[in-house]
Point group: C2
Chain length 127, copies 2
DNA sequence: CATACTGTATATACTTGACATATACAGTAA
DNA sequence: TTACTGTATATGTCAAGTATATACAGTATG
C-alpha cells in the first residue's frame, strides 16, 4: 500500500490517509469491492496507532467511499458517485452558509458572492 | 451605552460587543464621527477587562467601522459602505474558498454550489 | 475450541488555539 | 501634574483536536 505520511506538514495523519485513499479510489487504483489494508496492518506499516487508521477509515465511510464490516475488513464501496457528490455538497454547504452569514450582515449581495465563487472555482490552485 | 453581555450563550464577549456596535453604527444610532465609549469605561460598565473591549474595537477597526486614535479615543468612521463591503467580501471569500476546495475534490459542480448559495442567501434565519 | 485475523470502545496524554485577564507602558490634553 | 485616552507584555484557563495504549468483540478456519 503506497501511503506516505509526513509528520512535518501540519496536516494531521488521519487526514493525509483519508485524502490519499480517496485519490486511490477515485483514480480506480483501488477497485470497487476490493479490500483496503486492515487498520492494524496499515498502522504497523506507517508506525502509527490503530486508532488513527480507524479514524481515517471512519471518515472515508462517512463520505461513502468505503464500507466497513466488523470482523472482516474495509472494502471499496460500489461507485455511488451521486451519493459521494451529495455528501461533498453537504460539507461544502457548511462553509457556504458561513460565507452567507458574513455577507448579509455586511451588505454584500448575492451576485457578488456568486461572482467570487466563480473566480475561485476557476482557479487551478489546489493547495 | 446600551450593550448587553450574556455569559451563558457561548458567543465570546468580544464578539457580542462587536456585533452590537456594528448594529448601532449601521442603524445610525452612533453617528459618523461620534466617539465610542472609551475602552476603559465600557470595560468598567460591563465589568470585564480592558483587553477584551480592545479586542472588540480592534475587530471593528479591521472591518472599517471605526477609527481609533491612541490617546484620544475611538470614533465612528465615515460611512464608507464600499470599503465595508469589500472587507466583508474578503472575509466571506475565505469560506467560499474552502467550500470550493471541498467541492472540486468531490465532483460537485459550480452550478450546484451556486444553487446552494442562492438557497442559503434566500433563507431568513439569522442564527 | 483455539488461533489469528478483522474492527470497536474506553480512558488517557499532549498540544494548540481561543478567550479573558492584570499590570505596566505610552500618547493627549486640561 | 492629573486624569483621561489607547497599547503591549506576559499569564492563566479552558475546550477542541490529535494521537495513543489497552482491552474488548466479531469472523473465520484448522
Amino acid at each position: 500500500m503506497d501511503i506516505l505520511i509526513s509528520n512535518s506538514g501540519g496536516t494531521p495523519i488521519y487526514d493525509q490517509i483519508t485524502r490519499q485513499m480517496k485519490g486511490l479510489i477515485l483514480r480506480g487504483e483501488l477497485a470497487e469491492g476490493e479490500a483496503l489494508p486492515s487498520m492494524r496492518l496499515l498502522a504497523k506499516e506507517l508506525r502509527i496507532s490503530v486508532i488513527t487508521t480507524k479514524r481515517a477509515y471512519e471518515e472515508l465511510e462517512r463520505e461513502g467511499f468505503i464500507t466497513t464490516v466488523p470482523g472482516k475488513g474495509c472494502f471499496v464501496a460500489p461507485r455511488n458517485l451521486e451519493l459521494v457528490r451529495e455528501e461533498t455538497l453537504r460539507r461544502a454547504e457548511e462553509h457556504l452558509s458561513q460565507a452567507v452569514e458574513i455577507a448579509r450582515t455586511g451588505g454584500v449581495t448575492l451576485s457578488e458572492l456568486i461572482e467570487t465563487l466563480q473566480l475561485l472555482y476557476g482557479e487551478d490552485e489546489h493547495e
